[in-house]
């Protein structure tokens, strides 16, 4: 009787541990998928911006008119979005914008030639307002600086009430010669 009781208690505790382990494994898997997704978005944006040109920062002065106002070029203090000419065929005007894409969540939105904003991040990811695109040297000559864009993505990943903050940053230098 004592032996069986000890055995049962240990098995129950062990099974509890196994179930917890399974749950942790699932969360870890989900986290990996979301990190892959974030990495892909960062890589995609970097590549598009690197090969693109004619950058225009979208900051608080022109964020009501994403495509229309192209008087703003650089924003050394960062803006919430960037519009640029993509080298896709045919050449089209692309926008990356940090904010609400229409689904009431803060994410990264993409639009091509004025199309509807597309949410790029999964629902588990929330992008905070500290994220920005910093554009330097995008003015046409006689500005003497090769265009340079810094992308900052700050936010958190929420998987079943486990919140993991992240802060990503990278920069791209325009490949087209600024002449």
């Amino acid at each position: 009787m004592i032996s069986v009781s000890i055995f049962l208690i240990i098995i129950m505790v062990g099974m509890g541990a196994l179930l917890n382990a399974h749950r942790l494994h699932q969360k870890s898997n989900n986290m990996r998928s979301i990190l892959d997704n974030l990495s892909f978005i960062m890589e995609d944006m970097s590549r598009s911006l690197r090969t693109g040109y004619n950058y225009h920062c979208i900051d608080s002065t022109n964020d009501d008119d994403l495509f229309g106002d192209v008087s703003v070029y650089s924003c050394e203090n960062g803006g919430g979005g960037i519009s640029f000419d993509s080298t896709s065929d045919p050449v089209s005007r692309w926008i990356y914008f940090i904010g609400d894409c229409g689904d009431n969540t803060n994410g990264i939105c993409k639009s091509v030639d004025g199309s509807d904003l597309i949410q790029l991040v999964p629902s588990e990811v929330t992008i905070s307002s500290a994220s920005s695109f910093t554009v330097i040297g995008a003015e046409p000559p006689p500005n003497e600086q090769q265009p340079f864009v810094t992308i900052r993505l700050v936010g958190e990943i929420n998987i079943k009430n486990v919140v993991t903050p992240f802060s990503l940053q990278t920069s791209v230098s325009q490949r087209n010669i600024d002449i």
Partner: protein, 216 residues
């Protein structure tokens, strides 16, 4: 018949001594079969058997847990490596931008006079003995006299060498190695990001060859 059965079960009990013990008092059962229909079984686990079973179960559980722990550590490593990779890539892009700006708008011999001159203090053929950190734009580099000078701080999402409250845990080192002797038109740029995680130190190193693409 009764004798044969007694012999067989005595043998069976001997064989079963290594596993779960099933004690069968068959002598009584056989002899009492004529008196009563059900044999008397005294079955169960001994304490030693339970301890052995628990030990086996615990060892298997520890195995699973250690695999899981390394899985979680790997996920954290993947996250840190992703951040480090983008920071290292930023280092290369920064120097590339300095090259393009210098070559496009510099005076005289911009490759030597503007670009390579700016990086002369990070000229490090021995690799990583004389690294530089990147300045906040306007573009420039500063020699790290000790490794902590290349440390990146995190201020509201911005990684930079400007000292702030939050240490990001990453150190970014940039250095240049001229390719060929004399005033060559090619340099190799290295960008290394180091960080510490758990008990180990990790790093990501990117390199890119930059050329003087303008003909004077």
């Amino acid at each position: 018949m009764e004798k044969i059965l007694k012999f067989l079960f005595r043998k069976s009990n001997k064989l079963n001594q290594g596993g779960f013990t099933q004690l069968v008092d068959f002598g009584d059962a056989i002899s009492s079969r004529t008196k009563s229909a059900s044999p008397k079984f005294t079955t169960g686990f001994t304490l030693v058997e339970v301890l052995v079973a628990i030990s086996i179960f615990t060892v298997s559980l520890i195995g699973i847990m250690s695999v899981l722990a390394s899985g979680i550590a790997n996920t954290n490593y993947a996250k840190q490596k992703m951040i480090a990779t983008y920071l290292a890539q930023e280092g290369i892009e920064y120097i590339r931008n300095m090259r393009d700006t210098a070559v496009l708008y510099g005076n005289g011999n911009p490759w030597e006079g503007s670009f390579k001159a700016q990086l002369s203090s990070c000229n490090d053929p021995d690799e990583d003995n004389n690294p530089c950190g990147l300045d906040e734009p306007p573009f420039g580099v500063t020699v790290c006299t000790n490794p902590s000078d290349c440390r990146l701080y995190l201020d509201n999402g911005n990684y930079s060498t400007t000292v702030s409250v939050v240490d990001s845990g990453f150190i970014r080192k940039i250095w240049m190695v001229p390719i060929g002797a004399g005033n060559t038109d090619e340099v190799k740029i290295f960008s290394r990001v180091e960080w510490t995680q758990g008990s180990g130190g990790y790093n990501v190193t990117f390199s890119e060859n930059l050329f003087n693409w303008i003909e004077i």
